[in-house]
Symmetry: D3
Subunit: 232 residues, 6 copies
Amino acid sequence: MKILLVNPNATASMTDKIAASARRVVGPGVEIVARTGEGSPASIEGHHDEAMSVPTLLRHVRAGEEQGVAGVVVACFDDPGIGACRELATGPVIGIAEAAMKAATMLATSFSVVTTLPRSVPVIEELARRYGVDHQCRKVRSASIPVLALEEEDSGAREKVRDEILRAIREDNCEAIVLGCAGMADLTDWLSRETGVPVIDGVTVAVKFVEGLAGIGLGTSKICAYAQPNQK
Amino acid sequence: MKILLVNPNATASMTDKIAASARRVVGPGVEIVARTGEGSPASIEGHHDEAMSVPTLLRHVRAGEEQGVAGVVVACFDDPGIGACRELATGPVIGIAEAAMKAATMLATSFSVVTTLPRSVPVIEELARRYGVDHQCRKVRSASIPVLALEEEDSGAREKVRDEILRAIREDNCEAIVLGCAGMADLTDWLSRETGVPVIDGVTVAVKFVEGLAGIGLGTSKICAYAQPNQK
Amino acid sequence: MKILLVNPNATASMTDKIAASARRVVGPGVEIVARTGEGSPASIEGHHDEAMSVPTLLRHVRAGEEQGVAGVVVACFDDPGIGACRELATGPVIGIAEAAMKAATMLATSFSVVTTLPRSVPVIEELARRYGVDHQCRKVRSASIPVLALEEEDSGAREKVRDEILRAIREDNCEAIVLGCAGMADLTDWLSRETGVPVIDGVTVAVKFVEGLAGIGLGTSKICAYAQPNQK
Amino acid sequence: MKILLVNPNATASMTDKIAASARRVVGPGVEIVARTGEGSPASIEGHHDEAMSVPTLLRHVRAGEEQGVAGVVVACFDDPGIGACRELATGPVIGIAEAAMKAATMLATSFSVVTTLPRSVPVIEELARRYGVDHQCRKVRSASIPVLALEEEDSGAREKVRDEILRAIREDNCEAIVLGCAGMADLTDWLSRETGVPVIDGVTVAVKFVEGLAGIGLGTSKICAYAQPNQK
Amino acid sequence: MKILLVNPNATASMTDKIAASARRVVGPGVEIVARTGEGSPASIEGHHDEAMSVPTLLRHVRAGEEQGVAGVVVACFDDPGIGACRELATGPVIGIAEAAMKAATMLATSFSVVTTLPRSVPVIEELARRYGVDHQCRKVRSASIPVLALEEEDSGAREKVRDEILRAIREDNCEAIVLGCAGMADLTDWLSRETGVPVIDGVTVAVKFVEGLAGIGLGTSKICAYAQPNQK
Amino acid sequence: MKILLVNPNATASMTDKIAASARRVVGPGVEIVARTGEGSPASIEGHHDEAMSVPTLLRHVRAGEEQGVAGVVVACFDDPGIGACRELATGPVIGIAEAAMKAATMLATSFSVVTTLPRSVPVIEELARRYGVDHQCRKVRSASIPVLALEEEDSGAREKVRDEILRAIREDNCEAIVLGCAGMADLTDWLSRETGVPVIDGVTVAVKFVEGLAGIGLGTSKICAYAQPNQK
């Protein structure tokens, strides 16, 4: 089984990091086909970046379908272009925000999200509401770091994320933490150990959900909203 | 005052029709700058078409800003790319679905939407929920016509829209009708007369809301979510 | 086009101030017919005052209809008697809370309201929920000033409002401010400059919304809830 | 213990009927002080009638306080002026819609409401949402009868109410019926027998809730929203 | 009229305390049949304890039915097994959380809950949402005391509850307090006096609601969800 | 990795069927430990049966923990005792309703549920609301068959389920079907072929979700609500 894993931004090092996380968790016989959003913004910070990343993302999904991938993971916490990807795909398509937030509700009665920049906070709050988990999402917090700082060894970004998680535990009365950026995938284990709470990374969860759903033969419904795009 | 009116799809005849509707209602001294989504899908039918239309839409918004437009109307009932447009714009940016549905709640306790294809129904239902008017939206209905049938004189499309409105009145217990496609803008008066209910077209409402808000000096907040896109 | 602007309380100086704000923003040929709630409470502070102001408000609406007004603005942030006014009116009827809060959601992802007295906070919170914008309303705050202090030059009221706005910006993570009292209409520009955030006054927004909707021929639906009162 | 029972409309025969229902259910030592909305509309059919009935209702509440009533029941299913009454009262104030709908949720997982005229349907739907029981309210139905037809022996009104209840049972999948008009109070037993479902009349429920809450020493909170009206 | 009052936990001293509270408020001729959850956990602290207490609770309800009780009060603030009890009962069955929270919304625009242990907070938050009062519940707070500390004279528990109420008043902007544990029933009057806010104890409210509803002939609907358990 | 799969009812043939479904889909090295609710009701039809099945369910979970299971699936569509199980477990605990309904929202914009008896409909509606998917759940339908009819070859039960699915497709405008009973697990493939829509069985989905979450090291949060039961 091949699973297409698209990092919608243009930063290949982030794709590598995400793909490595994914490969560590998939079952035997599952191949991760990792793609980068070449020509898209270097990071997805807000609605504009998100919108500009979707055409390339869709190109990768179309190509993946031709290769016969079993499902798709969109590895950006804004869940860009999910509906459009679902129209193109036959297998399941899952964004990492949806995966992580719904997983959190299976493991805890409430969670907080820690993301990168303040401008992503309202975007994620709206996703929480769209996915029907807003009553379980205590707070969406930002560590006030640009996405790409997560790629730099000495930026202090990981410590800022850890400190924001510790603040969430103290102030939010939350039972789990959702990491609000694909670029934090490699920090998950360290953050769990440092903070003592379940830390949920959407990349690995989404990959396992796609693997699981595709494995039992479930794919995207083609009946109405997610039917193939109309020919004109 | 210039108002940028973008038809996100590639069909110029639809732009002309929409622009004519808009020009009929603006106040003295207001100029409608109408733009078409060249290279975008010929009609927006679902998430994929919507996503593919946004880059050109954003190009028009950026150009409009350079020309000093006072605000922007996005004339497609899926409200594509609104958040991204708001990041680029200084004046108000309003999509026709948000305008029409919020106007409906100022004029009636409930409304139904009549759109073109069934696949747009879930898209519009989600918009109604996002805008907080789902408890006042009785039903989203489709007249089962492709968007472009509205451009053909003899397609029978307008009669189908009228018949669906009459069904909504009979079955939904609604007090107003929202037209669920920019391409219906020229039918508004005829449909009102034929059906006897208030029929709300988002294009004219959105244009007047932008004109009104810009006229009193209000623009898009630049504080957090809708700040200019970050430079990387 | 005549627009009826009713200040539901008995304080004529407030009516003058509100009418002046309205007249500054209307288009050419639009006449503001301003009315005061003679015999009603001097200010609307809570449910009781609100209820007692409605009969005179309705008398003004009935008189306005006879004069052929195109629409009605109710200039009190509790939105008193809106449903009853809509039954009497043919044109649009908009309260300033509904106008300001819905406008805020077109310009920002979230807002806070700053009103006068603490007792108005739950009233406004319920309005936000009724209008479906509670998920975008960060907090309703009071500046702890009586409404009529806004009419006194040296009461320090305007400074208290400004300080509460600054607190909202610091603490609420909001992107815009809605002024929660008609009596603050004249402070809008000053508060915007002092605080650096978009400050939304419902009086001017409501007037432009009524002007816009009436201008394109839309009025209150007469089909069910807002039909003329039944004769007995 | 005295309980003030106000029929907000001007029809004394309806007050008598309601008071008789109330007196049948109160405990020993409880006196029902029944009042009519003299000068108010003869029936409350919509927002306008409701608004016009409140000043007299408030006068009765003020007088009741002077007489030392232990609590207040407002016997109109639109729950007019409840917030204003609560500001004036020290004991509990309960409207019959709130009482009946909340009681229904203690006895069944869902209910439908049967009211008089179609124009009251959206009013009651909004009350259900305000009271947080909209997810348990299957449907608000009207029997298409004017309120005062309930006062006429030969109007066929009671049969129409019964038939609408039977339709609700067949079509709504509801487990209980709430009577949506105070004027139906005397039909409760007959309707229960005729239809075989629990039929809930708000008058008796509200009276028992007021009696119960006042009996254990609970009254309206005077802390913020329901404090006595401000002196100016 | 007999009312069955079940304390679902195994602590008989708590049953005695609760029964005493109930007996003080019932009308003449009402007998409180008090039962303890023998063999169940000594206190209900979380989902596990709650689940383990239900079989004995149901046995008491079944026995009560045989004795002809008119209704049932379940005296634990987690409202354990309410649906199951309703299937067995003919009269009304009310849990103390539902009773107290719904009563609070009849007396105030908002309330906070003060419970015992932090682990009960999410349980009560979910109840508030299920009962549709989450928009009126400012905060669920814990006094950080085990349930059984309320049974010990010198545990300092009552002072901790009082202090938490005072914190709620200062920080939550709430207008009433709901006591989040049956074991606090005897503190109600003292807490009211000490804090100056309406303090609502679910035991007495639930008893009066059951007495009132049963008194007017209302019982649990037997139509669908709450029909007697199916024989297999 | 061992996954504990508990059928909460007492019908061993149903356990076998469910376990067979589960074993078909798990990855290499995953062992399904299947348990039956000995002494519990033969089928779970309503709140009473559900409550009576939980103590044995919890005993199996406790035993599973001692055996070191990696996670737990509760195979009854009422999701009985999930919170209590989560307190006892270290790994993930997922009920089949939560799994199936959340999976449905990853594959379609809307779904309908087809369950067995009408009395389960309100139970499932409440679960949908608790899980935040009520806005995507078009309708919960019953095929009007007792649960155990699914165990009898000639009961016609499977045809009734199929017919109800076909009705859902025609009438509900849904894009996927969720099977509302664990006993339908073996019908999934046949129902998909017969109806042409994605048919989602919670047993297999829940097993894969538990396998996936446990596989990446995620378990139930032990911080607050789901901490181990308190010792007294």
